[in-house]
């Protein structure tokens, strides 16, 4: 009996240690990024495609003010309210003192320079799929952005979500190094997939989440409840979104639906970003959406 207890204790400790190991924050080694050189002009396109300003600029910022990443916008969720931090070039209140490997670790692993997990309100699970060259370009563009000395406000979360280590477990369950949509894609559809899944993180709103807040990849872009509490975020699968590719591309440019209603909610801000891209990129997103598999009878999407 005593022996059994000891065995159980040892097993328990081992499981705990393994858990700590598996959920520990990791960082991207600088050697992996050696030889990359960023181009700020190309980085601006990455910046708009990735939608950084939609969350990190001040609420309702327009024009040049969208380049001031002072944070402060609030994002309600089932787990509490997340507040976007200052990620401007200010060395004290923003990220002006970061190195490029720290920037990549934040964007692709969701880990801060202090080794703490970010919450996945920050779409690092999508940015994880971005190319390192795009991140180098983005970082080069970031150096040209203005500073803001606005202090970051803390998130307003309840226990147990205040324990950041739990995010390590979440990451084990939810991080993937693969695109959701697979199979034979044209070059245009593949470009659209990269833009939609890696940079523009469309799935963060348009895909429903499971009880733990992970994206339900089996219902990819099939529409989801609006986290603000009322209404639904519309489905983008071709059985539901029946606009032509030209209509989708035009909507992503000028914000008007085919019947000249206008985009609202957070999508208005998304279009302010996507409107900055090359026209071919918006057509690529449209081509990708048209290539999405349609949900089966039971509502699941065959991936």
């Amino acid at each position: 009996m005593r022996r059994l207890v000891s065995v159980l204790i040892v097993m328990g400790l081992a499981a705990f240690a393994a858990g700590l190991l598996l959920t520990r924050p990791v960082s991207v080694p600088a050697a992996e990024l050696a030889g990359l050189s960023g181009d700020a002009v190309a980085g601006e396109a990455v910046f708009w495609a990735a939608g950084c300003a939609s969350c990190h600029a001040a609420e309702d910022a327009t024009g040049e003010a969208r380049l001031v990443l002072s944070g402060g916008q609030r994002f309600p969720s089932d787990f509490g309210t997340f507040v976007a931090p200052n990620v401007s070039m200010d060395p004290e209140h923003g990220i002006g003192d970061w190195t490029f490997p720290q920037f990549v670790t934040a964007l692709q692993e969701g880990i801060s320079p202090e080794g703490r997990h970010y919450y996945p309100a920050f779409p690092y699970p999508a940015y994880r799929l971005a190319t390192r060259q795009d991140l180098a370009d983005l970082w080069a563009f970031w150096q040209t952005l203005p500073s803001s000395d606005a202090p970051s406000a803390p998130h307003e979360l309840g226990f147990p979500f205040t324990i950041r280590r739990t995010v390590g477990v979440w990451n084990l369950l939810n991080l993937s190094d693969d695109f959701v949509v697979t199979g034979d894609l044209t070059a245009e559809q593949a470009r659209g997939r990269y833009l939609a899944e890696a940079l523009a993180h469309c799935g963060e709103c348009h895909t429903p989440r499971n009880a733990l807040g992970g994206l339900d990849r089996a219902a990819w872009l099939a529409g989801a409840p609006d986290p603000s509490g009322s209404g639904r975020i519309p489905p983008l699968t071709p059985d539901e979104l029946r606009w032509s590719e030209a209509e989708i591309a035009a909507y992503l440019t000028d914000g008007f639906t085919p019947s000249f209603d206008s985009a609202g909610g957070h999508m208005a801000s998304v279009i302010r970003n996507l409107g900055q891209l090359a026209s071919a990129d918006r057509f690529a997103i449209a081509a990708y959406l048209k290539a999405l598999p349609e949900p089966a009878e039971d509502g699941t999407i065959p991936y």
């Binding site: 609006d226 009322s230 975020i233 914000g255 008007f256 019947s259 000249f260 985009a263 909610g265 208005a268």
Partner: protein, 154 residues
């Protein structure tokens, strides 16, 4: 038998008709009025947007008419269109967020921004396609800005 089928169809159609009418009547007059105003905006924006997107040929006269209509629509005083208790939590069939009543100054400001953009558009609507395209960008921005804060996403 035939007459019976016909009669049944008429009864069924009438029932459907009243059903539809009942749903429409459920919305208070001010809600229907403001939704109609939005639809008029969409109709006239569609004329200009079709040209701006290259779906229809640029027509200076039609562009000017549509732009003038937008200016006229923006000039409609909104005092009676947004009574208390007509937000999307109180009523089915509207996407008007409570924020409209919580932040009336912001709402009025966004509405006036639309008016200013419509006037900007009307000033250049006859000057060619490029002028219309540029002005459509700014008017679209004002639609989006207001819907961003004051209309339920879907």
């Amino acid at each position: 038998m035939k007459t019976r089928t016909l009669l049944a169809s008429i009864v069924a159609l009438a029932a459907m008709g009243t059903g539809i009418a009942a749903v429409t009547q459920d919305l208070p007059g001010p809600v229907k009025a403001r939704q109609g105003q939005m639809q008029l905006m969409a109709l006239n924006l569609g004329v200009l947007g079709g040209m701006a997107r290259g779906n229809t040929d640029y027509d200076a006269e039609a562009a000017q008419t549509a732009a003038n209509n937008l200016v006229a629509l923006a000039a409609i005083d909104q005092s009676f269109s947004w009574p208390e208790g007509t937000d999307n939590f109180a009523l089915e069939g509207t996407r008007a967020l409570p924020a409209i009543w919580e932040n009336p100054e912001g709402f009025a400001e966004d509405y006036m921004a639309f008016g200013a953009a419509a006037e900007g558009l009307a000033a250049v609507a006859g000057d060619g396609l490029e002028a219309v395209q540029a002005a459509m960008g700014s008017i679209g921005g004002t639609c989006g800005a207001c819907h961003d804060d004051f209309r339920q996403a879907n």
